[in-house]
């Protein structure tokens, strides 16, 4: 092998190493590794944790621009039901709680969301959601949602647009 070819080979290996390092960043950028869950063969066969992780994704929808945040790719197909042209991810937070437990998620615009786990079984979880704007409670609802399924609460005004809140119950 000629020295030139060996240099090219080395450079190629370095590039692959850099690329591999970039691709694996999401696993380290969040501060903790994502939980490794094996793919369940059947819902009843999967191990069920006692706690339920409530994930809240806050998205800002507006008509002032027509750009879509790349991080919203996983839910891009559902954003077409929203009446806006531009979407950006504001925050994403999650919290584990047991039955009877609750947690408050802060939301931009002096808002907060209180989530309480009412019931959980192998099929679905019942959660109570209270939305506050300042000190005033605007909406309170109880939703029964299947494991690892999501739903959307939207409408609170923010920055010439509105907030789109995606709730997910993972367990």
């Amino acid at each position: 092998m000629t020295p030139r070819r060996s240099i090219f080979r080395t450079l190629r290996l370095i590039a692959i190493a850099i690329l591999a390092g970039v691709l694996v960043q999401p696993a380290f950028a969040q501060g903790r590794p994502p939980p490794r869950r094996p793919a369940p063969a059947a819902p009843t066969a999967a191990p069920i944790s006692g706690d339920v992780e409530i994930e809240v994704m806050v998205v800002h929808g507006t008509d002032s621009h027509s750009k879509v945040d790349a991080r919203l790719k996983p839910i891009l197909q559902y954003l077409r039901f929203m009446p806006h042209t531009g979407y950006s991810l504001l925050s994403q937070d999650d919290h584990k709680m047991g039955v009877g437990g609750d947690h408050t998620f802060p939301v931009v615009g002096n808002r907060r969301i209180e989530v309480e786990l009412i019931h959980r079984d192998a099929k679905q979880a019942r959660i109570r959601i209270r939305m506050f704007s300042g000190k005033a409670k605007t909406v309170e609802t109880v939703i029964a949602v299947h494991r690892n399924k999501s739903f959307i609460i939207t409408g609170p005004k923010h920055d010439n647009g509105e907030l789109i809140l995606a709730f997910t119950a993972r367990y």
């Binding site: 080395t10 290996l13 694996v24 380290f28 994403q92 605007t138 309170e140 299947h146 739903f151």
Partner: protein, 488 residues
């Protein structure tokens, strides 16, 4: 001498009893020798003998005073007006008295005249009256005086015309002519003429029908008239043939069901959808995207079971590629004109797609597909297709170097690259240059619940907001969306 004459003589002689007088009156009414007036009142009931004598004198049967003359005078008066008067020239009274004084002519003696003058009665008039009665001499006198008698009755008739006195009287009285039949019935009562006729026969009438039946027995007249029953239906059918009663009764009652349905429902062209998918060229239409959405789905499902259609579709794809290749070879590469056209129509960035970041699709595909090793497959394909004959490599045997630091250097470079990348992943987010999860959201996929996987059990909201719930669909394409409207 008639019976009347004899009876008058008898009465004049003083031998007239009541029956005789009545009989004389009856005969007097029909004796045409006397005028009508004299017939009715000729016999005076008070002095029938005097009246009889006068009548005898009028009839010329009396031989007393003025015998014959008085009768002639009376008859001349009773006759027509044109009837001449007495044959003789009219005599004066003196002549008459002179004749009368003749003893053989006049029955009255001088002594009688003297006696009558002593009584103050005009003897002539009284004698005439006694003999002749009360003759009406007016007509002859008027005629002699040259006065034409007037037929008053005829004159009145000519003036008045025919006068139906009976009708006038009835009208005046208000009597109505009674119908004859009610009048008869009123008079006769219910009269059964037949019974009246038969009753004298003295026998009970036999009912005719019973009599005939007893003699002849029961007769089936209908059977006699029609010996054999007639099949009416067959006869009618023979004459008229088969008759479509439905068509005859309701010739125009065909119900256009299609028109009725079309009038109620709008036009639904099913064939344009179904037929489009099954026309002979449906595979071509499917390949070219010319089918409607519904037909496209139908055709796609059919394609999964129709092997020939699949082969045909593949042939279309091959033909398309060959066509494009031929066109490109013949016409050359198509110049890229979008970059020149876009600014002219107001698009500043021709390559920018609103809502899509550059590389988003590629990264999304890469995330979905994961790591795909294509290098080996590509290299295998390239080596397989190449027809070049390469010379066997010349292996130059060279001595191994005594010291080889190549791999040591390469290893160090690789380690350094890995370290740099790890540090960059940790430091860049801290510097705000890269948001957490820059490469995407959490590793867990976001799967929105479909219908049946999520349910809103309770919902309450403030009076100043309005909430609308959009339920998810069956396929899970549309998630559950609770929309809060704060602009109420």
């Amino acid at each position: 001498m008639t019976e009347l004459d004899r009876l008058l003589r008898q009465i004049a002689d003083g031998d007239g009893s009541a029956p005789v007088v009545e009989r004389a009156k009856a005969l007097l009414l029909y004796d045409e020798r006397l005028p009508p007036d004299l017939r009715e009142c000729g016999l005076d009931d008070d002095e029938p003998d005097v009246a009889a004598s006068a009548l005898l004198g009028v009839l010329g049967l009396d031989d007393g005073l003025f015998a014959g003359l008085l009768g002639a005078a009376v008859r001349s008066e009773a006759a027509d007006s044109d009837v001449p008067a007495v044959e003789h020239a009219p005599l004066s009274f003196a002549e008459l008295m002179a004749d009368a004084t003749q003893p053989d002519a006049l029955p009255i003696t001088a002594q009688d005249l003297a006696a009558q003058e002593a009584e103050g009665v005009v003897p002539v008039a009284d004698a005439v009256r006694a003999l002749a009665g009360e003759p009406d001499l007016s007509l002859s006198i008027l005629h002699r005086l040259g006065v034409r008698p007037m037929d008053v009755a005829a004159a009145v008739l000519d003036s008045a015309g025919d006068v139906d006195v009976a009708v006038d009287v009835s009208t005046r009285l208000g009597a109505l002519a009674a119908p004859l039949a009610p009048a008869l019935q009123n008079e006769a009562g219910d009269v059964d003429v037949a019974a009246s006729v038969v009753a004298p026969l003295g026998a009970v009438l036999w009912p005719v029908a019973a009599a005939i039946r007893s003699e002849a027995g029961e007769i089936d007249v209908a059977h006699l008239i029609v010996p054999s029953p007639i099949a009416v239906a067959s006869a009618v059918r023979f004459e008229a043939g088969d008759v479509d009663l439905v068509a005859a009764l309701a010739p125009d009652t065909t119900v256009d069901v299609a028109a009725a349905v079309r009038s109620e429902a709008p036009e639904v062209d099913v064939w344009s959808t179904m037929g489009q998918a099954f026309e002979p060229g449906w595979v071509s239409g499917l390949f070219d995207g010319e089918l409607s959405p519904v037909a496209h789905r139908i055709a796609a499902r059919r394609l999964m079971t129709d092997g020939l259609a699949s082969v045909e579709l593949s042939a279309f794809a091959e033909a398309g590629r060959n066509l494009r290749h031929a066109v490109t070879e013949g016409a050359g590469e198509t110049p890229y004109i979008w970059a020149a056209v876009a600014p002219r129509i107001g698009i500043e960035h021709p390559e920018a797609v609103p809502g899509w970041e550059e590389g988003v699709v590629a990264e999304a595909v890469r995330d979905r597909a994961g790591t795909v090793a294509v290098e080996q497959a590509v290299m295998d394909r390239v080596q397989r297709k190449t027809d070049r004959v390469t010379a066997p490599p010349v292996v130059v045997q060279t001595a191994a170097p005594a010291n080889n630091g190549r791999w040591r250097m390469a290893g160090m470079a690789i380690a350094a690259a890995v370290l740099v990348s790890v540090l960059a992943g940790r430091l860049l987010p801290m510097a705000g240059l890269l948001a957490p999860g820059a490469a995407g959201l959490s590793a867990e996929p976001v799967d929105f619940a479909a219908a049946g996987e999520v349910q809103v059990e309770e919902l309450s909201y403030d009076d100043e907001v309005n909430v609308m719930v959009t339920l998810p669909d069956e396929d899970g394409d549309r998630p559950l969306i609770i929309r809060i409207n704060e602009e109420v």
